[in-house]
Symmetry: C2
Subunit: 507 residues, 2 copies
């Protein structure tokens, strides 16, 4: 091939990059509008904002399924052997996303979007009034459309694979069933040992009050310790904490403060900080390739949960957290020692609400949802059966039963907008994290001595080099193999949990 | 004409409305991005933000000069007799704006935009280093391009008319010279009487401190008193206070707090609140017509200055402000009585900085800039002469001379981005406001009794009915005639000032 052709290739790559940056502009304003909507937008602005958001989303969508994209894909496929590794991946992802969006008739997209909007309103109402019947007809519609979407997508093996693939590319029910069965049995086993141990842990923060301004300052301090860069990010207050990015230089985390418990905001900050650091470490050179995003939802969650639990609830790091918290809340900590602090933030207590669950039982909440979604999608149960099946599974795995649907099947919003297939990411994050930890301690043998002093720099660098800088250059299954030499495993997480709780509960 | 044609007209009107709403979507995200940039965007996000803003601006621009707009104009011009009053105005404004944007070659727009970006950076540097020479070459370029833009636009009479028309449609140098000459002489005359009166007013706030949180709460209280609707707006903190809207349901004002002087934030809140109320009162039915904007910059400024000065610095209203301030700052107000408070916020003191000027001398700062701009645009002086001419005029009109360019010709940013023709709006706002007051007191004879109790509802309703609800249905010259039966006049403002200061300074 001559210099002339290389020029043409170069030119096409530049054109594509400019085109993808255009899509990013639309996504950026979409993110900013969402952030603004949740952090204090005037309430009367809601309707107009929804219109502008939907308009901008549609522009991004149209650009993603345009003839231009189609032609780019055709051109680069024809010249694949001339592309380098990153360029090949770029074309691969471009094609995948193009086909994923293109597969649905426009009518179907509109129908789904409308059902999802209605679903969210109905769910909110149903949850507020603690009445599943209010949500039922909308949820039935959403499930019906979700099944229809699976037909458009096509699938191999279990129908649910089509949904899993949206959030964890390449993962299948066949693989996940094994992993989750092992995980569920492992956790239930540890839970039994804890219950039989007779050890009781009390909450030392009961009855105390922690002013919001102190909590905020404390969270910022911990985020800086983690390496979250406030020149490329900020922290605001919302109803539910989340992380959102406009680029690796504008990453916004949010938090929520409870006056009676500063550890809720502390762990939210550490969790969202984990997401945020991932986004901040996505390399600049991937801008305009479409690859400057996380490998998957589960890998994202592995980073947030690594910081929240593996670091944040670790005994060594706890010494640092304890000393810092004592400085910020000297009166509240007057009669609390380090061990009591450590035990309180690691207390195991099967409970009804996923987002309030402890580190051990959290994954069980997720597995219950996964099992139910599978049954539903494969027509083994109907929407009308959900409350009953939900309550049965909580009884079976956690030994507790929801007193009403509000604290049962209605607690999460995910189904209301059709996000079936998303839940597994939350538990997968735990597994990936423990698997990474197993590797990390080989590379940094004195890791626990370091973090005991509040020095998280080695952790930061390790995750940056091994996870963050790869962005979406690999599918999650390939990424975890590159990092650990193994496929997704449940055993590292179970071992980690067993070792930890054996010490705390003396079983 | 048959029903069929009316259907077609109806359909075209709907199409145009949808098209204009699309442009509004782009403007909205532009506004949100600017607001976010100034209220706390992470600093590393600046470059990416600039790119996204410029992209969205270009989309809005392209839609405004598109073939579609051209065709809409042609269609409606052909069927003008079938349009109602609002529709006629809509087409008129559409055409005006289309031609205004279309007249410039794309190359010229880019060149101007680049010169303006560079100009702003150079101006900032020049101001920081107090060195006009740093700004001079860029300002020369901007003046050259501004003169070129006048050639593209065309003009009648004075070249400066082409610039005036951008901000105050229909106003000419010939008209404005007369008004400003009268205004300048009137103010200089009052200033002499004050100087000869021998009355000295001291600043009772000197040496006191006002915590930011109290200032904020106080400003919110006053804004609510004014009728600013926090369900359709909010107040944030920025380096320089401003007002911006995304719609009449999302109006954002900003403020800046000085610890040693709460009246600065108070008057900024009242000023921006005046702008904000105007925007909030733009009627819903004008959405999608392009007419849901203010009549002009000067009419906008008339509303902010009406609230800031005519109400905010009024003796009756001052009683209310005094009592409220005393509640918020009881210690600081311990030895301050109402008269001292009133006199302090009305102290006249010729000074070098426009934005810090008192109500009397403020307009002189504006007139100086207007006179200089006219000289420059008509080649009577060159950019190199600016510092000298500036200082001469301050000496002549206000009796003081800038000690350096930083507090002289470099103080305002307006020229750095080519906003020649904007300054007059600031003083025109004062004139329109006093003219409206003259009418308002006829309609509401007991107005001063009402505002003495903090009841601003009649003022709010009067301005809403007479100004805000007309949005951009009339050119400013027609609007003021509708409201007052007269053209723009200087005399009402001069009479108002003379009456006020005669009492304060006992001359």
């Amino acid at each position: 091939m001559g210099a002339k052709f290389l020029d043409k290739l170069e030119k096409k790559l530049e054109e594509l990059s400019a085109y993808l940056k255009t899509i990013e502009h639309y996504r950026n304003v979409g993110s900013l509008m969402y952030w603004d909507m949740t952090t204090g937008m005037p309430e009367n602005a809601a309707e107009g904002r929804a219109e502008t958001m939907s308009f901008m989303q549609m522009q991004a969508h149209n650009l993603s399924v345009s003839k231009e994209i189609h032609d780019f894909i055709k051109f680069f496929e024809k010249n694949e052997e001339k592309l380098d590794f990153v360029q090949k991946r770029m074309v691969h992802e471009l094609k995948k996303n193009y086909e994923k969006e293109k597969i649905f008739p426009e009518e179907f997209i509109k129908e789904f979007s409308l059902a999802a909007s209605r679903g969210q309103l109905a769910w909110e109402k149903a949850k507020n009034e603690d009445n599943f019947e209010i949500f039922k007809p909308d949820l039935e519609k959403i499930v019906e459309l979700t099944k229809k979407s699976i037909k458009y997508k096509g699938y191999k093996g279990n129908k649910y694979n089509a949904l899993l693939d949206d959030y964890e590319p390449g993962l299948t029910v066949e693989k996940l069933d094994k992993v989750f069965d092992e995980l569920r049995d492992g956790i239930v086993n540890i839970l039994k040992k804890i219950n039989n141990s007779g050890t009781e842990i009390s909450n030392v923060f009961e009855g105390k009050e922690f002013p919001k301004e102190n909590q905020k300052r404390f969270c910022i301090k911990i985020l800086k310790t983690m390496g979250f860069d406030f020149k490329s990010g900020r922290m605001d207050e919302t109803e539910h904490p989340y992380t959102l990015d406009m680029s690796n230089k504008d990453v916004r985390i949010t938090n929520h403060y409870y006056l009676n418990d500063f550890t809720s905001a502390m762990f939210s900050a550490i969790h969202e900080g984990g997401h945020g650091i991932y986004e901040q470490n996505i390399p600049d050179y991937l801008e305009g390739t479409g690859l400057n995003v996380a490998a998957s939802m589960a890998i994202h969650e592995s980073q947030s949960r690594f910081y929240e639990n593996i670091i944040g609830r670790n005994k060594s790091f706890c010494g640092y957290l304890y000393e810092e918290a004592k400085k910020e809340f000297p009166n509240q900590f007057e009669f609390i020692n380090e061990e009591e602090f450590y035990n309180t933030i690691n207390k195991v207590q099967p409970s009804l609400i996923r987002t309030e669950a402890d580190e051990l039982t959290y994954s069980i909440h997720v597995i219950i949802r996964y099992e139910i979604e599978k049954l539903l999608i494969n027509d083994k149960i109907q929407v009308a059966d959900l409350p009953r099946v939900w309550n049965e599974k909580y009884k079976e795995y956690l030994g507790i039963e929801p007193t009403s649907d509000k604290v049962g099947v209605l607690q999460d919003m995910h189904w209301s907008d059709g996000s079936f297939g998303y839940f597994p990411s939350y538990a997968l994050g735990n597994l990936y994290g423990a698997q990474m930890l197993n590797e990390m301690v080989k590379d940094i043998p004195n890791i626990y001595d370091e973090i005991a002093t509040g020095d998280l720099s080695s952790v930061y660098e390790w995750l940056k080099e091994n996870v963050h800088e790869y962005a979406n250059l690999y599918d999650p299954s390939d990424l975890i193999k590159r990092i650990t030499g193994e496929e997704l495993q449940a055993k590292y997480f179970i071992e980690y949990l067993d070792k930890k709780y054996k010490e705390i509960y003396n079983y």
